[in-house]
């Protein structure tokens, strides 16, 4: 036990004396969360749009007023002819054009149906989608108000198909993903680097030629990072609660338990990486390419798994991060308990045991 404590103490000296790594360790989660939360957002503000109103009647004017009154859009141009639409887009400022058909009011009242075309600049597909969703919701709102006032029901059909929920903030979607990435990075990359550093410096030779046992070295290496990763997880959760007002719906204890489980599985992966790499550089490359990319691309964090080709979907099952993200979303957003996520939890436990087993077995008691 004394040996173990001595070892852990030494690890903490390393960690706290390496200012740069320490900054990355704790600066990164904060920066990432803030970046994803504020900068990379699906919400829009004051988007410049143009209007082409063939009808020019009372109803279209009212709708246009509603749109220009919203904080999302500012109408910067009124155009006269269809031919102008393209030139307006080409100038680049205008992100969308609303094209009201001729006799809009007449059609609406007579046929109970009128059409407004929403043209969006899809060079940035996300923004385009969001814009059309916002316009859509304004139109719907207008419709509902009208339906209350007049007893006759009529319908405005708009062409875009997606439904947008203005209540759903994008940061809610990012928090579980970012938390997964950070925990993976800190745990796996930092442990693999710290073990390979001993190899590179030659201190591993001295450790091997000493009575300290392999599992003492491994646990001694892993322990400080469990501690640091838990702190990181707490920072992320606190940031999302207090800065982004994102409530954690489910049990905090369950959240803590699942996080530690994921951290341990990532640490086991880190040890595994360190057994196959001889230098810190290799360990870092393998961690980045072998862990980070799959976590970002295949875990369902950014790209939905259901829309991936079948082989990739298959691969995604092998990625612990995928299961952790499902668990996180379940606990944080839906507020579910263990009864809904026991399957994912079991899979994570299985993976952790497997990685730990392999890495203890692969840990060399000699140099080759």
């Amino acid at each position: 036990m004394k040996r173990f404590i001595g070892f852990v103490t030494k690890e903490f000296y390393h960690i706290f004396r390496d200012r740069r790594s320490l900054f990355i360790l704790f600066g990164m989660p904060i920066v990432q969360i803030l970046l994803f939360g504020f900068a990379i957002t699906n919400e829009i503000n004051n988007v410049d749009i143009a209007i082409l109103d063939h009808s020019n009647d009372a109803i279209t004017k009212e709708i246009i007023n509603k749109i220009s009154a919203s904080k999302y859009f500012s109408i910067i141009q009124l155009i006269e002819r269809e031919d102008d639409i393209e030139s307006v887009f080409k100038k680049g400022n205008v992100k969308a054009v609303l094209n009201f058909e001729q006799d809009f009011s007449k059609n609406l009242i007579k046929e109970r149906q009128a059409t407004v075309q929403i043209l969006t600049d899809a060079t940035d597909p996300n923004t385009a989608n969001t814009i059309s969703n916002y316009v859509n919701s304004i139109l719907k709102k207008y419709q509902q108000e009208q339906n209350k006032a007049i007893t006759i029901n009529y319908v405005i059909v708009s062409e875009p198909r997606m439904v947008y929920n203005p209540e759903l903030k994008s940061v809610y979607m990012f928090v579980p993903g970012v938390m997964t990435i950070i925990l993976m990075l800190v745990s796996a990359m930092m442990t693999s680097i710290s073990i390979t550093r001993e190899k590179e410096l030659g201190t591993m030779e001295i450790l091997l030629v000493s009575p300290i046992k392999p599992f003492q070295v491994i646990v001694g290496k892993v322990f400080p990072y469990i501690f640091l990763s838990v702190i990181n997880a707490i920072i992320i959760v606190l940031l999302s609660i207090f800065i982004f007002k994102m409530p954690v719906q489910g049990s905090l204890i369950l959240l803590a338990f699942e996080s530690i489980l994921f951290i341990v599985s990532a640490l086991a992966l880190g040890i595994l990486i360190s057994t196959i790499s001889a230098t810190q550089q290799t360990a870092m490359m393998i961690s980045l390419m072998g862990l980070m990319l799959p976590v970002i691309l295949l875990s369902g964090f950014i790209f939905p798994i259901s829309s991936m080709p079948i082989p990739l979907q298959f691969i995604s099952h092998a990625i612990p991060a995928k299961w952790f993200i499902i668990i996180l979303k379940g606990i944080m957003l839906k507020g579910v308990g263990l009864e809904f996520i026991w399957k994912e939890t079991l899979i994570l436990i299985g993976m952790t045991v497997l990685f730990m087993g392999i890495s203890v077995k692969k840990y060399k008691i000699r140099l080759e």
């Binding site: 070892f7 030659g202 030779e205 030629v209 000493s210």
Partner: protein
């Protein structure tokens, strides 16, 4: 309590690192393994410290087999690898404490053994190892290797890259350690350090050239060596090499070490020859062989 090495061979992919190495190190002996870089010294050290497994042969350290009893060996040997292998971001005291702890002991318990060495670096005990001079690093590394009172001490090129003053101090420390019942195996590429060992093994390209006391090895040198000097070093070497009776011609500091193939060699004859080659200020004097001469003779 010594070391016994029997027919050890080791190959890497294409290279034979060690070929049929056998020798014994007696208890409390200061034994030197002398050879250039790439001779196989480090490989042998790693096999003896249980870090590598030999392809053939076996070895025992203090009676323990290097393969089967590796756990016992790891408790009882001290090892100082060739590269400076301490934690640069830890202070002198933290390094020493750490190694004491993992060997299950404390600094106080074995302070007697390291006292002589440690007092020299103790004034800087709160300085990080990375900021120490070469000589101080080396002393700290030795303290760390000694902290658990090992029976056998392995020092792989401890004096490489260290200045002459620190080198001398280091060898003085080894002599004192020997008095405290520790068997020491030390490797070095410096031939002049051979004389400081009780016995030495000369090693090159994975093969042992000779094992004996430094005095005996030098005494057994088969030829008479002459120190030859002249005004132009390059011309002197070329002329000597062109001399039909030369056996060996090696530049040796300000002289050239010359040996002749004939038993009844007359230096005057050589002098005349050199004069005919337009060399001036020629001196030819008998000199003693050194370990380096012997090494070259064996390696020839």
């Amino acid at each position: 309590m010594g070391i016994s090495i029997n027919h050890i061979s080791k190959s890497y992919k294409h290279v034979k690192a060690l070929q049929d190495i056998s020798f014994d190190v007696k208890p409390n002996e200061l034994f030197g393994l002398i050879g250039p870089d790439g001779a196989g010294k480090t490989t042998l050290f790693r096999i003896l410290t249980t870090l590598l497994i030999a392809n053939e042969g076996n070895a025992t350290i203090a009676g323990y087999d290097v393969i089967h009893d590796f756990k016992e060996i790891r408790k009882h040997v001290g090892y100082m690898p060739g590269k400076f292998s301490l934690y640069q971001d830890l202070t002198i005291e933290e390094n020493l404490k750490f190694f004491a702890t993992i060997f299950g002991t404390t600094i106080d318990e074995n302070y007697d053994l390291i006292k002589d060495i440690y007092v020299q670096i103790e004034p800087f005990k709160n300085r990080r190892a990375g900021k120490l001079s070469g000589g101080m690093k080396q002393k700290l590394a030795l303290c760390c290797a000694l902290i658990h009172k090992p029976k056998v001490l392995f020092l792989d090129e401890p004096t490489t890259g260290v200045d002459p003053v620190s080198r001398k101090e280091f060898w003085d420390m080894l002599k004192r350690l020997q008095q405290k019942n520790i068997t020491i195996l030390v490797s070095t590429p410096y031939m002049d350090e051979a004389a400081l060992c009780d016995r030495i093994a000369l090693i090159q390209d994975g093969e042992i050239l000779q094992i004996d006391t430094p005095e005996t090895i030098v005494k057994q040198y088969p030829k008479t060596i002459y120190n030859v000097n002249a005004s132009n070093m390059y011309q002197l070497i070329m002329s000597l090499k062109a001399y039909p009776h030369q056996y060996s011609v090696y530049p040796f500091g300000e002289f050239v070490h010359y040996t002749d193939t004939r038993d009844g060699f007359n230096p005057d004859e050589l002098k005349q020859y050199l004069q005919a080659q337009n060399l001036s200020n020629i001196t030819i004097e008998k000199t003693q062989a050194t370990i380096e001469d012997s090494f070259m003779e064996f390696a020839k």
